[in-house]
Symmetry: C2
Subunit: 202 residues, 2 copies
DNA sequence: ACCTGAACACCGTTCAAGT
DNA sequence: ACCTGAACACCGTTCAAGT
């Protein structure tokens, strides 16, 4: 019955706490220097405690990647299905993509970072990213375009957006601030947009 | 005067040997698991020996990134300045980009991997990548287009190519083999190419 | 001038022991 | 059921000592 409510023992929900704190931890030090022991320290538990909730470091990252992909794909889908002409919908998807990627940098880094599925377990990860592609496919799906071609168009858009976000994150393209990143993107995506609209007869 | 010529002591040129072997080492295990101690073992020297040639692990990676960028930028420049119409030159750049990136996966990973210039030393790295952008600028530089707009066009092309290579490397876009990666790219880059040509009045 | 080998601080992971 | 703390193997980095 001491004054301190924080029992130094049970944590309440350590699993949730680990998932909540990890992104900030990664944002500070970079994914490559992110450390389970450091994360445990930040939460005031011993390093061993983590292993009661995740089999290993990779499993923690997989959990973050999965929930990230889910939210990301939903965000893209909302933009792709919004009630407007194709061109504006493509713009909305582009904006939504960069906003999400740069607003959730740590998670995005995990999602598109070193492969978490080398061993072939976690096929869910592959499906999760496929979901994002499908969200974007919706933009281009019409009677007159083959399925294969739709995917080419999606790939053209997704690769440009991923490349842009990756290079901005790495400071290879220098823009100051998230807002500037968005407006700069809207200008560089212009040629692709033009080409896509031409193919869609808009 | 023993039969063994390999003196177990001096290595000849350990520095060169380290730079030569590192990419293969990285290709096998992935950049994140790449280890100086492992590399030293592969070369038959003690781990301490590495530090006679590189201040630390990062310096080794910087050396690889710099020589990589140099070769990469030159490759792009050759393609961009080849003797043909703009559209074909863009195609050549695209092909050269993906061929280099996927043919030098480990190096490409270092060049566009975790930032090696966080501390602000090694500004050469920033210049090195700027060189690649300039190589591509050459494609779009005409009287009628402003410098700022030329850079937008370069960014549109470079981000698409980087995004494509990154996603192929991560198996997020599945193509079997380097050749398939090239032909698949040529189809997905089609919309961008069309938009670029429209803007260039070709 | 270049390499060895011990040493130190740090990590991921495991496990018997505590509560 | 969940956490602690010692233990092990491994890394990056340093440095006195060897050749």
């Amino acid at each position: 019955m001491s004054v301190k409510t924080k029992s130094t023992y049970h944590h309440g929900d350590l699993r949730k706490a680990l998932l909540r704190e990890a992104p900030g931890c990664i944002a500070e030090q970079g994914l490559d220097k992110f450390t389970l022991r450091g994360l445990a320290r930040d939460l005031g538990v011993t390093h061993g405690a983590v292993y009661k909730h995740f089999a290993d470091k990779r499993e923690l990252l997989v959990a973050l990647a999965l929930s990230g992909h889910k939210d990301f794909a939903a965000t893209l889908r909302d933009a792709a299905l919004s009630d407007q002409g194709v061109e504006d919908r493509i713009r909305l998807v582009a904006r939504a993509y960069v906003r999400w990627a740069l607003g959730n940098e740590s998670i995005y880094q995990i999602m598109f970072g070193p492969r978490l599925n080398e061993d072939g377990r976690h096929p869910e990860l592959e499906e999760a990213i496929e979901d994002s592609f499908c969200s974007v496919d919706a933009l281009f799906t019409t009677q007159s375009i083959s399925k294969a071609r739709v995917r080419h168009l999606s790939v053209s858009l997704m690769t440009q957006l991923h490349g842009y976000c990756d290079l901005v994150r790495l400071r290879r393209i220098r823009v100051r601030g998230a807002k500037a990143a968005e407006t700069y993107l809207m200008q560089s995506i212009d040629p692709l947009l033009r080409g896509l609209c031409a193919e869609l007869d808009v």
